[in-house]
Symmetry: D2
Subunit: 295 residues, 4 copies
């Protein structure tokens, strides 16, 4: 996927414009074609707004055509490798390419039931989700009604489009599609930032499996050099941060029990707003700790 600047899009011919953005909506180049007439766009937000208007002002039939142009989540096309490159990357982000046979069957069954009920595939912006939160959404939305699901499908398509634009178009502004997850360790024993503390971030599944997302070590301000997650949505789901404070205090002159009362401190929390800023600090001593949703 090649990046293009907003200026280039503004000065492009209509054909070039469609060549650049034709696949922003799945198999639906007519949407950017409509939006092309609104050029020039001062901001990426304006381009996005134009695309959104084009979709929402189109008739129900055209909207439904866009909806049905989407592939099944974790479906046969994914297995067969016939998805668009962007769909492939998106489904991979949520781990849909790593399903067990049982999970694949569950997804398949849910998808078929959904399609049988509503006449179009289940659409969700998978970059904002984990496997578990997709399944929960599928269960919940399968009990909804067609009108509401059509509206939800359009909302999710626009979220997918916003993330594709964010990745593809260089512009002076950014769409509000990124979340952030960060941490900070304060050592209340010494009154200083907790420096050199190893930490790990895991994604947790409902069945308590953990998948390592990243490892880091705190710097002299008690923070990690970069946020644990940034530049993308923080997928809806459960996480565990693990802080190796036992090793940290063993390196200081703190008087510790043997084994130390606290060693690896696990903090479990869930993300509900993928575009939110989640700051999850740890205030600790060898005998106590506090965590909270910070800012």
């Amino acid at each position: 996927m090649q990046q293009v600047s907003l200026a280039q899009l503004n000065s492009a011919t209509k054909a070039e414009f469609i060549a650049a953005l034709g696949d922003i909506f799945e198999h639906s180049p007519w949407v950017p074609e409509v939006a092309a007439a609104d050029r020039p766009f001062a901001t990426l937000a304006a381009l996005y707004a134009s695309l959104k208007t084009a979709l929402l002002r189109a008739g129900e039939d055209r909207q439904l055509a866009v909806i049905t142009a989407h592939p099944d989540l974790a479906g046969k096309a994914a297995r067969a490798g016939t998805l668009t490159p962007e769909s492939t990357a998106e489904q991979t982000s949520a781990g849909l390419d790593r399903l067990s046979e049982a999970e694949y069957t569950t997804f398949h069954r849910f998808n078929e039931a959904y399609k049988a009920r509503f006449g179009f595939p289940f659409i969700i912006c998978v970059r904002r989700h984990t496997k578990d939160s997709i399944l929960r959404a599928l269960e919940r939305r399968a009990k909804s009604n067609a009108a509401s699901e059509r509206a939800t499908a359009l909302t999710e398509i626009l979220r997918i489009v916003a993330l594709r634009l964010d990745q593809r178009v260089r512009a002076p502004d950014r769409l509000a599609v990124h979340g952030r997850l960060s941490t900070h360790v304060l050592d209340n024993y010494s009154g200083r930032p907790g420096e050199g503390i190893a930490l790990e971030l895991f994604e947790l599944s409902e069945s308590d499996e953990r998948r390592l997302i990243t490892r880091a070590v705190t710097n002299d301000d008690g923070r990690t050099e970069a946020p644990l997650i940034a530049g993308r949505p923080v997928p809806i789901g459960a996480y565990e941060l693990r802080f190796a404070i036992g090793d940290y205090y063993a390196r200081t002159k703190a008087e510790l029990a043997d084994p130390p009362f606290l060693d690896v401190v696990p903090i479990r929390f869930a993300v509900a707003e993928p575009e939110g800023h989640y700051h999850v600090p740890l205030l600790c001593t060898p005998w106590s700790y506090t965590t909270y949703r910070g800012s």
Copy 2:
């Protein structure tokens, strides 16, 4: 194992006394026989002190005989079912009857190396330990010297004896052989004790396996009806307490995220003093929590 009162022991014939306490030291009825002459005992502590003096004033040969009368930990006798009933119960308490084949081999190898080096079996008061802490002690003590290990073996034998006395003899006083593990949930969101919160206590192995010790629900004072562990030593090792505060707050009118930021809160801590009182409270809101070693 039948209980006997201190008064009965005081008024018993010497033969009856030995019949009651002859197996307090492993295969060494001579120790209680010596102590019998100190009767009457005003307290259980006095009886214990008399037994301790009898052992420590005996010659090195008799002490060594007591030491070598002990079976291997997790050894062939345990497998063959030829341990004394008390040894069997003790080894079971630390899970030594549930060893995998690999663990059995490790124990066997360590025991043999220890015996080859020191000429007597590795002795430890297993009721004060978990499988992991026994293995760590074995590794550490295998590097010690014979004089120090003989002294340590006598210390551990006296700990075993104190626990056996505690279980067998009813007396006005208690030996200081019990620890306690308790918890308390304070809901800082409502300013009240956290009532009706389900919690679980697990023992953790170094390989991160968890073994459920107990389940409880907090009462209207935020405490469990009984301590999580009491009336026995709290085995040296790692533990995890899990508090289902997500369910608790879902039952109140608290405004929560979906999924809630905090659901099941895990607290990991280690016990270093089996006779200590470990109070591990949780102060929580839907967005924060604090834990510490309390009192």
Copy 3:
């Protein structure tokens, strides 16, 4: 005021009964006279219930007579020393005997306005209040209506009666008229209770004056030997607890700044339920602290 046992009251003649309890209601011996017929009372609660019923079932005129039999709060009778002994003690408890001339004038003005509006004096159970909370209640209730104020006056009279019974009658049960204020210091730096920490409890006025209620030093469990307030209502009002943790840490080997970051830690809180249990703990290190309403 002499104590009497419930058994004595049950076996007393009617005249003796009235002699013992005749002044339980201010200048209204007819109320205990009615209740005397309900004897014997199994519990103090039953005696109280009988007195309450006698008052509430009486006609409006008799109730109003009881109400108007009460003296002004902080009024001329108090100054002149012509109150009943119990009224004197009660008004003293809230500091109404220590009013400045300006405060006396304020009370006088409020009382007169209240009486002019409702035709009876302002009644409040002063043992449950501080000077400030009485004034706030006076301001609020002065805007109420007569029916509501008559009902409130009866409620307050019954509170006064319950406290008088609690002090005067020995019985197997206690009325729920006592609150409690307690504290506990946990040293999260050492993982132990904070022992030997000097603390002071002040009552705060709205004008930020502080009046010392009690001093104490924490024991080896981090608690004070007795609750800071017990055996009586905790007056509605604002309080400040001050913990001298700087001196405490200076006695330990903790590494401190000079001057120490934390020295005397003040905790300000208010009591709203005089019969409630207020536990206000402090979790501290030389660099941090936490407080909360505990249990």
Copy 4:
């Protein structure tokens, strides 16, 4: 006092240079005169280093002359208004112009005793101090010896000089002479920053008087728009931060007691390093709070 740029100082004639910086050392233009020869200075740090070297390499007599050129702290010259403008501003910063007659007498007595013992006036960089910390330093240093006090006087003079340079010379770099005091309120009840919370910062004297330093209201990130103290040293001394969280929670839908358990939360702390960064956050609910030295 007029600002001058480092470039101007570099290109100035020697006379101009001395005109600009001649009073950087109290009545001692010879120090900048020596330093003038080291021009050009790439940085303010280099200029400061040159001045420092000029002072420290001078003979003891010249150093002593610089020391004795300083006025008494809070002395007659201050009262008579005959101090240099910079000394006046400095003494004012620590409140030495607002002494009571008793305090003036104490300072006078201490100063005279100090001068009688050492032969030169007591010198301290008052911008780094409060009245109380100056008095404590005076008491402590009065017991020192002459050699050590001469060295301390030079250190303090160089601190004064660094602060004067910082105010007077515009340069690409800054000397490390500024501290910072900041705060942050996290509402653990709602999981959001505490917005719109009024707070006050007081300086506390040892006699518990408070002097208002600044007022602020937290913004939508729970912080104040500017640090509470910045761009100058944070004077060594005791402070109280007061957060009006009662008013804050009264504006939300939180269920509160009446009066609320927590209303104005006072946090007392002391500053020991004037160039340090003091971050003093508050984590709160209507029923609990936590504070700590953050970063």
